[in-house]
Amino acid sequence: MKVANNGGAGSVVLKKRITKTELRRQSVLLIIAGLYVIYGIVFYYLPLAGWTMAFENFKLKDGIFGSEKVGFKWFKTLFEDKTFLRIIRNTLAMGVINLISTTVTAIGFAILLSEVRNVMGKKIVQTISYLPHFLSWIVVTSIVKDAFATKGMINELLTSLGIIKTPISFFMHTQYFWPIVAISNVWKETGWNAIIYLATITAIDPSLYEAAAMDGAGRWQRIKHITIPGIRSTIIILLIMNIGNVINAGFEVQYLLGLGVLKPVSETIDIYVLNYGMKNYSLGTAAGIFKTFVSMTLILLFNFIAKKTGDERLF
């Protein structure tokens, strides 16, 4: 395809006018692009009409257009609710903890793996490490529950090492919950997340390492001055993309592990929507809109910061 703007050095950038012949020439491309536009409208934009539910007393029978309009009532309910504020805190806290812990471990793991010389060993470790990604949370939480049980692996290890005297009931005390969620996430996702960093590291020009080695740089120095700067832009892009997901701190893991006493620290927005929005779609939608709003703000903010600091950015 011809690029419309092909002005060379010093020439004025001209916009080519869209002519009928040009349209005809590109008709196939336009149709293909059009299909995607239609797809986007139908599946991403039209459902947004459902957002009106947040501003009415939605009843399934009356439908979106027939239900009674109540303005910002549900948003008011949400923000006057102490529980909801606590839930935002939980969601953001767990989101940030998970993001940081999984990113740091993935980068560390990728660097360590890239330093391994034995190809066989490297492949085996990599395969094993990303397998947990394919397990569903229901399986992972059972493993976590067993591991952290009073008679479980962790407690036995800690008592036999003499670190604690009596077993700790990890699930009875709120302070252990966020670390447990972070550990579960790290266990499940590290290997998988490391793949992309590993690929970036592989793409770094080997001559850089050779040159550094010649100049007497040790392993640590090579990592610090070549590997990390080499994957810096990937880290930033992935961070920006994942930052929007901070608000999706999780549903399954908190839902399955956070019973009873742990509720004050375990409930996330998604669980709140399930509990309070199941028969009250309006409230659920309002909470959903709030979530979208927070996600978009975070992405825009981080993109802006990345732009300011002159790093890679999304848009």
């Binding site: 409208i41 459902p47 979106i64 049980a149 009873g260 006493v261 199941m278 028969k279």
Partner: protein, 596 residues
């Protein structure tokens, strides 16, 4: 391009509208309902002249001769949000029922989802079964025109069995805001003289071996109960198979947290109104009282706190889920707990398989009270208690509602009822010279085997049914209530306990008052179950639940009970329980008004 876009937009609109119109009422479903049942059969058989259309008259008694050919049998689906075992295809009694009623039901059990949760998506997609027990989603189904109204059928003498299920006043309680009745609860109804020997409801349960070891004492209070458990656990800290005993546990998960939550209402001697107490004494009219804040509630949780800190209570009670709980009970390790019988009855077959019943691991109920010597005690309800908030519904998806209601009606015919619950005469039960049904040892064992039940037995357990005495005036409607069968199926340790106390039914253990008629408003939980967060009181109710889920385990494991109890009560007050209680009082007044 433009036209394509318009087309796409139109398409999308259609899809949107389509998805919200999942449950349009079938225009003809309610208008044709009044016609008699034989109509249906006639139209069914029109295509098949070989069959005899003269059978199946509307009358309830004249069903014994009717049989349906293979191509006249309608296959309908049924869904309930309960755990249950599915039966095999081609199940013997199911086929026999299909032949005799013209309907074969494919039952599906969904225990993994909350009913309201599942019903919402079902309404949106329009993907409904023919019959449903909508649980706490019943009201939602009715509001969205997904259900066929019962009104015309209840007026029609051809459906007299259905009408007979409740008194006129009781039927009124089932009536929804739009003036129609959409479901009937099939449980807790007695025909003729009561024969109930089981206790299907809540109690503090104790393994019968514990009572035997203490020489069958009468246990009245929490103090006595926990002392009993503690003494036994000290004496026998391990079971024969090496499992460590857990003297007491309490389930706190999800909606089943009633196991820890609602004992205070019973301890004070009130029946299971579920969410509140209805106080009658010392007030000028029946008054709603919150059992979460009474002195008894504090006393009860203080006791739990005490036993928890003394190591008598399961250290993992607050974090176990239902599966974990059932696994613990089934292992025979738990000496006692507070629960509804139906919530854990599934372990009985496991006990039999493992031989635990012979070792006295089976549970018997105890009707504990707040104070020693207190006579107010309604753990066991001697009266019928229809829960009007849910029941069996026929959906608008059903292609022939007349036939569906005909089937519901036939379910209550005596011969069909016997077939469902007693089985086939000669194979599953025998009749003695006095006309009393009984089973041989082999038959009893069959009915305790899951494999046999799946292959042979079909009770349609969520369809209309009776307890009490059969229409012949002699037998029990269900084998479990038949005196000979009840005692024959008791394991030896249980039999010994019944003899030692001189009891003849599980209800006797609870020493409840023989109140045969409860307040017309009973049970009040049928109102609170219907609430959702669109209303102030529903919101308060949801928050109260959340607050209790969080705090009840917390006060139990607390190291400083008094100060944590204060914190709990303060957090509870913040949920505005008074808004909820006010609404409950309104509903109570409304129900009293209805009964006049």
């Amino acid at each position: 391009m433009k036209s394509k876009k318009i087309f796409a937009v139109a398409l999308a609109c259609m899809m949107t509208v389509g998805s919200f119109a999942g449950c349009k009422k079938k225009s003809d479903s309610s208008s044709t309902t009044a016609s008699s049942g034989s109509d249906t059969t006639a139209s069914q058989t029109a295509s098949d002249s070989a069959a005899d259309p003269t059978e199946t008259e509307g009358s309830t008694a004249a069903t014994e001769a009717s049989t349906y050919g293979a191509d006249e049998i309608s296959d309908y689906t049924f869904l309930a949000f309960m755990a249950n075992k599915e039966i095999n295809d081609g199940n013997d009694i199911q086929e026999e029922l299909a032949k005799r009623t013209g309907v074969r039901i494919k039952e599906t059990w969904n225990a993994n989802q909350d009913a309201a949760e599942a019903v919402g998506t079902m309404i949106a997609s329009g993907d409904l079964p023919d019959f449903i027990d909508g649980g706490n989603g019943c009201k939602m189904l009715a509001e969205n025109d997904c259900l066929v109204a019962w009104d015309d059928y209840l007026k029609d003498p051809a459906y007299a069995n259905l009408k007979e299920m409740f008194s006129d006043k009781q039927w009124e309680l089932f009536r929804q805001a739009d003036g129609h009745i959409y479901w009937a609860n099939v449980f807790g109804k007695t025909y003729g003289e009561p024969k109930t020997r089981t206790h299907n409801d809540e109690a503090f349960w104790v393994q019968v071996r514990v009572l035997e070891d203490a020489n069958y004492p009468v246990i009245e209070t929490l103090d006595e109960y926990f002392a009993l458990l503690e003494n036994y656990a000290k004496k026998y800290p391990k079971n024969e198979d090496g499992t460590e005993v857990i003297p007491y546990t309490a389930l706190c998960e999800g909606w089943r947290y009633f196991c820890i939550e609602n004992a205070p209402e019973f301890l004070d001697g009130y029946p299971n109104d579920g969410s509140v107490i209805v106080q009658l004494e010392g007030v000028d009219k029946p008054t709603i009282v919150d059992y979460n804040t009474t002195p008894t509630a504090k006393m009860y949780f203080k006791k739990l706190n005490e036993v928890y800190n003394a190591g008598i209570m399961d250290p993992e009670f607050a974090t176990m889920d239902y599966d974990g709980y059932i696994a613990k009970l089934a292992s025979g390790a738990v000496l006692g707990m507070c629960d509804q019988n139906w919530d854990f009855a599934q372990i009985n077959n496991t006990f039999i398989e493992k031989g635990f019943d012979k070792k006295g691991y089976n549970y018997v109920p105890l009707g504990l009270v707040a104070q020693k010597g207190q006579t107010k005690n309604q753990w066991h309800a001697y009266a019928d208690v229809p829960n009007v908030s849910s029941g069996i519904c026929v959906t608008t998806k059903c292609d022939d509602p007349d036939k569906a209601f005909k089937f519901l009606n036939t379910c209550l015919d005596q011969d069909i009822h016997d077939l469902r619950f007693w089985g086939i005469e000669g194979t599953d039960y025998l009749v003695d010279d006095n006309g009393l049904y009984y089973r041989t040892e082999e038959m009893r064992q069959n009915w305790q085997s899951d494999a046999y039940l799946a292959k042979h037995v079909c009770t349609y357990s969520y369809f209309p049914q009776w307890g009490g005495t059969s229409r012949d005036g002699k037998n029990a409607m269900k084998p479990g209530d038949q005196e000979s069968e009840f005692f024959a199926t008791l394991s030896d340790p249980l039999k010994k306990a019944f003899d030692a106390y001189g009891y003849t039914a599980y209800g006797d253990f609870l020493r409840s008052e023989h109140i045969t008629e409860l307040g017309f408003w009973y049970p009040m939980y049928s109102h609170s179950n219907d609430m959702d967060t669109t209303t102030d009181y529903g919101m308060a109710w949801a928050r109260m639940g959340d607050c209790k889920h969080e705090w009840l385990p917390k006060v139990v494991i607390s190291k400083d009970f008094e100060s944590d109890w204060e914190k709990y009560q303060k957090a509870y007050k913040d949920c505005k329980p008074e808004v909820f209680l006010e609404e409950m009082q309104k509903e109570l007044d409304r129900r009293i008004e209805l009964s006049k």
